[in-house]
């Protein structure tokens, strides 16, 4: 199988407005690079700013794979790990993609180290939407439906619907291309709708009355 050429980013950014998108990404990358450099020099406030900017992304990436109760602790783990390895980061402008890879790896590691009986499901996740009497359990059931989507879609949908990030923000934070985020959101929503509507007596996601 032939490999895809490395210019896929360019191919995906040929539409109107791609220039400003590229400039915006470049400026964010440059700001990240400055913060990473400052953090390497011992500036904890700079690392704090990186945390502020990326905590939601890390939280979303982890939430796509590990139980809700574990996510906050793992977010902390991911940033501590990143801090300890910061000196090894060569492309400082790609801090987001690097951090996302650490978060995904930490989530995989969580499952490797868990005993089979601990590789659970959230206590609310097995509830059927049809039996949900309150919004909390309905939300848990929808989250569970998202987590059962193909890997390509669940992470992007969680960043959008749970963490409240926009598509361009997801692309900037994770290092994915705009085109990929857009496709993942679009197709992920299609699959989510199909899954939720296939559950008998489902009352979600019905349209909210404006």
């Amino acid at each position: 199988m032939a490999s895809r050429p490395d210019d896929s980013v360019e191919l995906l950014m040929t539409g109107p407005g791609c220039r400003s998108v590229r400039e915006q990404s470049a400026s964010e990358a440059s700001e990240d690079a400055m913060l990473v450099d400052a953090a390497r020099d011992g500036d904890r406030a700079a690392f704090g700013r990186l945390y502020d900017q990326y905590a939601r992304m890390v939280h979303g990436v982890l939430l796509a794979k590990v139980p809700l109760a574990e996510v906050d602790d793992l977010v902390q783990d991911v940033f501590v790990l990143a801090l300890s390895r910061l000196a090894a980061l060569r492309e400082t402008g790609r801090f987001g993609a690097w951090l996302a890879a650490i978060a995904r790896n930490r989530a995989n590691d969580y499952h490797r180290r868990s005993l089979p009986e601990d590789q659970l499901v959230d206590d609310t996740s097995e509830k059927d939407i049809g039996n949900c009497g309150d919004q909390e359990s309905q939300a848990a059931a929808i989250l569970d439906a998202i987590r059962n989507l193909p890997a390509a879609y669940r992470e992007t949908l969680i960043l959008r619907l749970v963490e409240g990030m926009t598509g361009p923000e997801i692309a900037a934070r994770t290092g994915m291309t705009h085109g990929s985020v857009r496709v993942n959101l679009h197709r992920g929503m299609q699959q989510l709708r199909a899954r939720l509507s296939s559950i008998p007596n489902s009352n979600g996601p019905q349209q909210e009355t404006k």
Partner: protein
Amino acid sequence: MDTGNNQTGSKPLARNDKYLWDGSGDPDPEIRKLERLLGRFRHHGPVAVFPKIVPDRRWQFLRWRMRRFPVLATAAAVVAIAAVTFLAYERKPAVTVVGWDVSRLAGTPRIGRNTISGKETSRLRIGQILETDQQSRASLRAKDTGHIEVEQSTRLRLMTMGAGLNRIALDRGTIHVHIWAPPGRFVVDTPSAVTVDLGCAYTLQVDDSGAGIVRTSLGWVGFKLNDHESFIPAGAACATRPKVGPGTPYFEDASATFRAALARFDFEDSTPQQRTDDLAILLAASRQRDALTLWHLLTRAEEGQRVLVYERLRGLAPPPAGVTKEGILRLDQPTLDLWWNELGFDDISVWRHWERSWSGPGKPVLAK
């Protein structure tokens, strides 16, 4: 995660997609409801507490002192030059000892000529060979990379080790690998393919002829030789042969008929008619789970056979929107990737993102 779907990426957005994309345009009531319900899971974690960052400030302090005392600075410079000159003539440059910690599990494994016995821990350095005989087994550990158990009658070499890439060559034998380094950072060369960790645990065997097999128990593994790629998720296996490269991955619970036909299709020097017959057998014996194998066969089947594979795969795992028959038959990479992502194994963009020149055999490189 890049799905690689260029066509959809440039499609004009519908009104609701615009809201989904960046929150602009008319709010989509359905999405707003999802946002409201799911917002309760949003990150509201406590303010993070990080350990103090301690950069190396010694040289800055020294510079301040030197500005204050110019005579001292000159004297220090003379002493420093003399010391460097002396060391350059008298001593060989120091080499940082990087490597994997090796401990004995059974018998007496060897690193080069040195045997490892008792509870002692040795270090496998770059360029060195670890060998076990019929009675011995060993364990390798690298803090930031992972853990490897080395079975009997195995010979492996450490090729490179650094922040970006860890590379081992397995000449023969069996290793059980658990990796916690980021995907794409740990690579094992075998005589007929390169194994790339994509966040996983797996077992790799190589026999004396150079033929090998990888069995994935967690995550997934990439198997590559030049442009020949195989992706092996948990529960699946993939064989490789010298001069041929990786075969087609398959789930080990597939029927014996399916596996036998696949082995003949991949590695036997068959006539075109025999290959067509073998393909027909394995297509007929394929289950939904065998979509893994069929997806790989799209790129391995002859042009005339590819349509048969497409039709069977379509029956087992309907292609998503954006995947056309024409795109598949001409082996359009983004289209193939889009269908792969639909099969639910893992996101192929992880591989595309980390892909680099792993194909060539590694050469020992001393770490600086």
